[in-house]
Symmetry: C2
Subunit: 184 residues, 2 copies
C-alpha cells in the first residue's frame, strides 16, 4: 500500500523500490488501461548447459550474462515507437555519461533515424528527482564528451528535459512528457 | 556462402538454417543499411543462483525458462512500430493455431489497438514456403477456434497474406510486404 498524504494523488517516490521496478509498475498500469504497450526486455543470456530432469522443468546449469545490443525498454504508444533507457545516479548535481554504453546510444540513434521517439528516464536517487531527457540532448553531450565534459549537469537536464513528479497511477507518469516529444 | 543459381538474386531457402536465424540475418541487413531497427528479444530466464568466481565472469548456476509475455520480434520501420512472431510448421496444407500462445495473440491485439503493425511470418518447412500473415486474419481464426477450425489453411494464408520469396539481401525481404500493411 502507498502512504496516505495530504495530496493522495502525489507521492514522493518509493524508497524501497528500484527505478526499474517503478517503471515496470507504471508500464503495467499503462498496459492494463490500454494506454500503451511497453515492456522491459529480458536480460540477454548465453546458455551453455541445460539439464532435463525427468518429470520436471529444464534447468539451466551454466550460463553467462551477455551485453545487450539495445536499450532496456521499448513499445508502442499512440501509433509511435518508443525506445528508452532508465538510469539512476547517486550524484547530486550531474549525471555521468559513463552510465550509458556506446551500443545503447548507437541503438537510440538508429531508432531516431527510423522515426522512433527515444529518451532516457534519469533518477537522482539522493533527492528522488526524476527527469525525462530527450535523446537529442544525450546525443549532443555523448558526441562531445571527448572535448571534456563527461557528465550532464542536472540544471541542463531540468531545462532541456522534463521533471517528472511521482504519482500514484501510474507511479511514474512519463507518457505525459512523451506527448510533448510527439507534438514537437 | 549462398549457392549460385540461374537467378543469383533468388534463392530457395537455406535448408540448414532455422527460420529464426534467417530472420535475424535479414534484420542485421536491415539494420546495417539503415532501413529498419528490428531485434529478436532475449529468451526470458528466471535466475536462481549466480556464482562470482574471482577474476572471471559471473556464472549463472541455476536458472529456468520463463514464458514470455510478448512476441519474439519488435522494432521501428518508417516511423511505425512493428511487432511479429515467426512460426514454422511441418504440416503441408494448413497452419495449426496451437503454434501460437494465448499471450502472444493478446499482446499483438494490444499493440494493434495502439496503432502498431502486427503480423506473423509463417514457414511451411517441407515446401520451404514463406508467408506474411496480417494479424487481423490470425485474430479472426484465433477467436473462432472454439467453433471448430483449429488451423488456418495454406490457401487462406496465401490469399489473405503475402507469399515471400527468399532473396539474398535480405534473405527474407519481409518489409516489402509490411509496406502494403502500412499503406492499407
Amino acid at each position: 500500500m502507498l502512504p496516505r498524504r495530504k495530496h493522495p494523488d502525489v507521492i514522493f517516490g518509493n524508497r524501497g523500490m528500484s527505478l526499474e521496478e517503478e517503471i515496470n509498475q507504471s508500464n503495467t498500469y499503462y498496459l492494463q488501461n490500454e494506454i500503451a504497450v511497453i515492456h522491459k526486455k529480458p536480460v540477454p543470456i548465453q546458455i551453455v548447459q541445460v539439464s532435463y530432469p525427468k518429470r520436471s522443468a529444464a534447468v539451466i546449469k551454466e550460463a553467462y550474462f551477455k551485453q545487450s545490443s539495445t536499450t532496456d525498454y521499448n513499445g508502442v504508444y499512440k501509433g509511435c515507437y518508443l525506445d528508452f533507457e532508465a538510469k539512476e545516479t547517486k550524484n547530486k548535481n550531474s549525471f555521468p555519461l559513463s552510465n550509458f554504453h556506446e551500443h545503447q546510444v548507437e541503438h537510440m540513434k538508429a531508432c531516431t533515424r527510423q522515426g522512433g521517439i527515444c529518451f532516457a528516464i534519469i533518477k537522482f536517487s539522493v533527492t528522488q528527482q526524476l527527469f525525462l531527457l530527450p535523446a537529442a540532448i544525450l546525443f549532443d553531450y555523448w558526441d562531445n564528451q571527448t572535448k571534456g565534459r563527461k557528465s550532464i549537469e542536472k540544471k541542463v537536464i531540468a531545462s532541456s528535459g522534463y521533471a517528472i513528479n511521482y504519482h500514484v497511477q501510474p507511479l511514474i507518469p512519463y507518457l505525459k512528457y512523451v506527448d510533448k516529444l510527439i507534438n514537437k
